[in-house]
């Protein structure tokens, strides 16, 4: 029986395993050094915040794996020997495979800051990071202040986590407005205000120079590059993005770039070795997508795709229209299609913001053809299915704005904003005409 080995028990690897099991009775082994069972990484924050216990982050009960005949192996793969179809664990143990799927995920970026490996300095990615945080920042007496470095999605989540335990947080963001590489200015500014409103000490346009240690080798303060200011703290969160977790493949002969290079079939340069999820890097971008996408649902889709290929139905990875979502403290964010932080030369944007300063949308369209290109929505839930259809149908922006109510996904009885948005849009059109 063919033995499929999957390195990594995250959403990509587990989805691949589940779909291979649905279609075949191949032997399947999932390897992880991080945890015994699959859990939702995106939910780790809620464990620290006390919304959930760790077991709630596990989508399947523990009996699920044995019942579905999926073997789980705890261990750290240190070497892949493709000539002999063999894995070597750091314990020295080996395991042979017929087909190998690498779904090893990401690791937090560190940019060589002095002091980045001190005690009390951590990323927020692995379950071990959560345990570390629980250790160094259990409450605001042990951790009198925390500094979070890096203004992206993980950074604001870490700030929210610490804040939930009343730990004062200083949030160092390199950009001059939060996540404005991705978000248009109006949205980014609204989130700045929301962060400040939660009493988080947001510092924009500053970089970390170094982390200072106390006599025990634990972080005691950070130094700000631009001002030289020393901020006393007990915990430093480094959340300056993630990159593919591929160090263990350096000598493997598998072609690497920033990630593991794969073609559209998620195949590496070595036959019978595939890479999916955060660690995979497309040779060429698909549409406007980045070659590496560290996003929950792309991992899931790659898992579904590679499962087809492995079960004899070789198909391309073809992600549909871009979408994503996040939550910034209390404000939910969804995006469908492409809305750029700095508009492209062909792109025109319409921005509407509610007077309460917690809801806004930005609609992007082609300035000549008026084709609808995408929407960012904050504080108003919208329907994925509707925007996916409108993008496929290449609707023009007038159609989208007129029919926006069709896409509303807010709970029943919520106040509707579509007519206000439409009249703002109409007067905006009038002004620009």
């Amino acid at each position: 029986m063919e033995h499929i080995v999957i390195i990594g028990n995250g959403i990509s690897g587990v989805t691949a395993a589940r779909h291979i099991r649905k279609m075949s009775d191949k032997r399947i082994t999932i390897i992880s050094a991080e945890t015994d069972y699959f859990f939702s990484r995106t939910a780790l924050m809620y464990v620290y915040m006390g919304h959930m216990k760790f077991e709630h982050t596990q989508p399947y009960e523990n009996w699920f794996w044995e019942k579905n005949n999926i073997e789980l192996k705890q261990g750290f793969v240190s070497q892949v020997k493709h000539e002999s179809n063999e894995l070597v664990f750091n314990s020295g143990e080996t395991m042979s495979y017929d087909k190998l799927i690498i779904a090893a995920g990401s690791k937090p970026n560190k940019f060589g800051w002095p002091g980045q490996d001190l005690d009390g300095v951590m990323g927020m990615y692995h379950k071990q990071d959560l345990e570390n945080l629980e250790n160094y920042a259990p409450d605001n007496k042990t951790c009198k202040r925390a500094v979070v470095v890096g203004g992206g999605l993980i950074g604001i989540e870490l700030a929210e986590m610490l804040h939930s335990r009343s730990i004062p947080v200083t949030f160092l963001v390199r950009e001059d407005s939060f996540w404005n590489g991705v978000l248009p200015a109006g949205e980014s500014a609204m989130i700045n205000r929301h962060i400040l409103n939660h009493h988080i000490d947001l510092r924009l346009g500053v970089n970390l120079k170094e982390i200072l240690a106390d006599e025990n080798g634990k972080a005691r303060a950070v130094v700000v590059q631009e001002t030289g200011e020393v901020i006393d703290c007990d915990v430093v969160g480094l959340t300056a993005g993630v990159s593919p977790n591929i160090d263990f493949l350096k000598e493997s002969g598998i072609e690497l770039g920033r990630g593991i290079k794969v073609n559209r079939f998620l195949e590496t340069n070595i036959p019978n070795i595939y890479a999916i999820g955060d660690c995979a890097e497309q040779h060429e971008s698909i549409g406007m997508r980045r070659p590496i996408e560290a996003v929950w649902y792309t991992g899931r889709m790659m898992g579904e795709t590679v499962a087809q290929t492995i079960c004899g139905n070789r198909i391309e990875y073809k992600p549909g229209h871009w979408f994503n979502s996040a939550k910034f403290m209390d404000i939910e964010y969804q995006t469908y299609g492409w809305v750029f932080g700095r508009p492209q030369e062909y792109e025109q944007q319409f921005h509407w913001k509610h007077e309460d300063d917690t809801k806004c949308i930005t609609v992007s369209f082609h300035k000549d053809t008026k084709e609808f290109l995408g929407i960012n929505t904050f504080g108003i839930r919208m329907r994925h299915e509707v925007f996916d259809r409108w993008l496929t149908e290449k609707r023009d922006v007038d159609y989208v704005m007129t029919n926006l109510a069709e896409a509303n996904f807010d709970p029943e009885f919520y106040k509707k904003h579509e007519s206000q948005i439409l009249s703002a849009y109409n007067s905006h059109q009038f002004q620009t005409a």
Partner: protein
């Protein structure tokens, strides 16, 4: 929610792991109110009971209100679940267990030893706690209080005070606010005040909570009530008609339009208490598949029991002679059998596919009832069916289901089993509405394409123990008979994935993995397997 800049950089927000000084003061105020009741319980004879009762209830309410204000109004609007699993009360800690024990003990005394609360027996005046409530009862209906009046008052206060707290907790969410106002209204008006006023108008009318319906009020068709309905003519017969319409017309219609939530989380008193006072315990319900299996057997067994029991009870007081009254024992049994057969045949004919293997369990339940009816016919006399007294069966139901299951376990165990243990495992009304919701309702929880990140907030906070995530992560709508439509899964979802909706029947159940995002060809393969 307003995001206007607040330039104060104060960090005095409440600690998720503890409570603030103001909250401690609020708790102290509430405990003073409770202390007055404890004093009454140990037979302290208060001089002016009206004032002390007002003080006791007022202080408890005030304490809850102040606590809620400090817990929620000091923060921005949003989901307020910080520290839920760290707090002893809400995570089966020492406080949770203690509360469970105290509540359970209270229910045991209430149902089985009311004299310990000071219930006057044999026409004697009330003493103790119950006498403390005499002034209010006299004011409303001109009669002294009973243990049920005390219970009803405390129940109503709990729903009102904790309802206020719940509204503050979800002050960004109008769905949550409206349904909470609704349960507060129905409890105060329908369950508490109107029955008292009805008694004032005509003391022969049996206690009738207008929103309650069989089989939740399993006693509704007992002989003494039917006699009273008939005796009080227009008003009594209207109530009897309402009782029958409620179960056969009103509830199926509303459940078809809106799902069982119209009752379970907008109207019902048990649901009302669970959603307000019980809200802090919703995360304690078990999400295991094994719990789901137990649930399905248990709740439907209770349903079968209640149908057979009620049929037996009605059977015993009906006559043999069709000349005296058209509804005789035999006509009644045959009508019940025909009705059940029609329901069962109709479901198998039109809904077999949706029911899947559950059809087998439905068949078992159906045949259990039919055989019971046949045996009833052959073994029934004026007061015996199955060779046991119908009265005995009725008492057993009242004791084990009506008192122990719904009261002692259902509410007493809130801090252990979660706030909907009765609704989930025991309520025969929920079983009937759930059956309608699963098969003939426009209601569903829609999943928003491919946005789910499997975080598990929805499942954790589902009070009915539904593993909502297992559907959401497959892009599958949630159509479950147990769902009471409280909407909390949708509220706590950080990615805007879930929406409670009433829509067309077609495409309501979509058991394929229709995740958006992938290109169409792949989805075809996945769905075709």
């Amino acid at each position: 929610m307003s995001n206007k800049l607040n330039h104060s950089m104060s960090l005095a927000s409440p600690d998720a792991k503890g409570i603030t000084t103001k909250q401690k003061v609020a708790l102290a105020i509430g405990f003073v109110g409770m202390f007055i009741m404890i004093l009454a319980l140990v037979n302290t004879n208060f001089p002016n009971k009206g004032i002390f009762l007002t003080a006791a209830l007022g202080l408890i309410t005030l304490g809850t209100v102040l606590f809620a204000n400090n817990a929620y109004l000091t923060k921005l609007e949003g989901i307020k679940n910080d520290g839920v699993w760290f707090k002893s009360m809400s995570s089966r800690g020492v406080l949770g267990w203690l509360t469970g024990v105290v509540l359970t003990a209270f229910y045991i005394v209430l149902y089985f030893y009311p004299e310990l609360l000071g219930m006057g027996t044999n026409g004697e005046a009330n003493t103790g706690l119950i006498s403390l409530f005499d002034p209010l009862s006299n004011l409303l209906s001109g009669r002294p209080a009973s243990q049920w009046f005390v219970y009803g008052t405390l129940y109503t206060i709990a729903i009102l005070a904790f309802g206020y707290k719940f509204i503050l907790k979800y002050r960004h969410n109008r769905y949550q606010q409206l349904r909470t106002v609704s349960v507060m209204f129905f409890q105060l008006g329908f369950a508490f005040l109107i029955p008292e006023f009805m008694y004032v108008m005509n003391s022969d009318v049996p206690y009738y909570d207008l929103k309650n319906m069989w089989p939740l009020n399993y006693y509704n068709f007992d002989q003494y009530r039917i006699d009273a309905f008939i005796k009080t003519e227009t008003i009594g017969l209207s109530l009897l008609a309402l009782g029958i319409l409620s179960i056969f017309v009103i509830s199926p219609f509303l459940t078809y339009k809106y799902g069982k939530r119209w009752y379970c989380s907008w109207v019902c008193g048990c649901g009302g208490l669970a959603e307000t006072a019980g809200d802090a315990f919703r995360q304690l319900s078990s999400k295991k598949v094994s719990a789901w299996k137990l649930e399905r057997w248990l709740i439907h067994t209770v349903l079968v029991f209640s149908v057979v029991m009620t049929t037996a009870v009605v059977y015993t007081y009906l006559g043999y002679d069709p000349k005296k009254y058209w509804l005789t024992k035999d006509v009644f049994l045959i009508s019940v059998a025909v009705f059940l057969t029609l329901v069962f045949a109709g479901v198998l004919l039109f809904k077999r596919k949706e029911l899947g293997k559950d059809a087998r369990y439905g068949a078992i339940g159906y045949f259990a009832v039919i055989i019971a009816l046949v045996v009833m016919h052959f073994s029934g006399t004026t007061n015996e069916v199955f060779l046991i007294k119908a009265g005995t069966m009725r008492s057993a139901y009242g004791l084990y289901i009506g008192s122990i299951f719904s009261g002692v376990i259902g509410t007493g165990f809130y801090p252990i089993l979660g706030n909907r243990a009765w609704c989930r495992f025991g309520c025969p009304m929920a079983a009937i509405l759930g059956f309608q919701q699963r098969l003939f309702s426009k209601f569903r929880i829609t999943t928003n394409g491919g946005q789910c990140i499997s975080c598990g907030n929805c499942s954790t906070y589902c009070e009915m123990g539904i593993d909502v995530r297992s559907y959401a992560q497959k892009g599958e709508n949630i159509v479950r008979s147990s769902c009471v439509g409280c909407g909390i899964c949708s509220a706590v979802c950080p990615r805007g994935v879930l929406k409670l909706e009433n829509d067309k029947l077609e495409g309501r159940i979509n058991p394929t993995e229709v995740l958006l995002g992938n290109d169409v060809d792949l989805m075809n393969y996945v769905n075709n397997k």
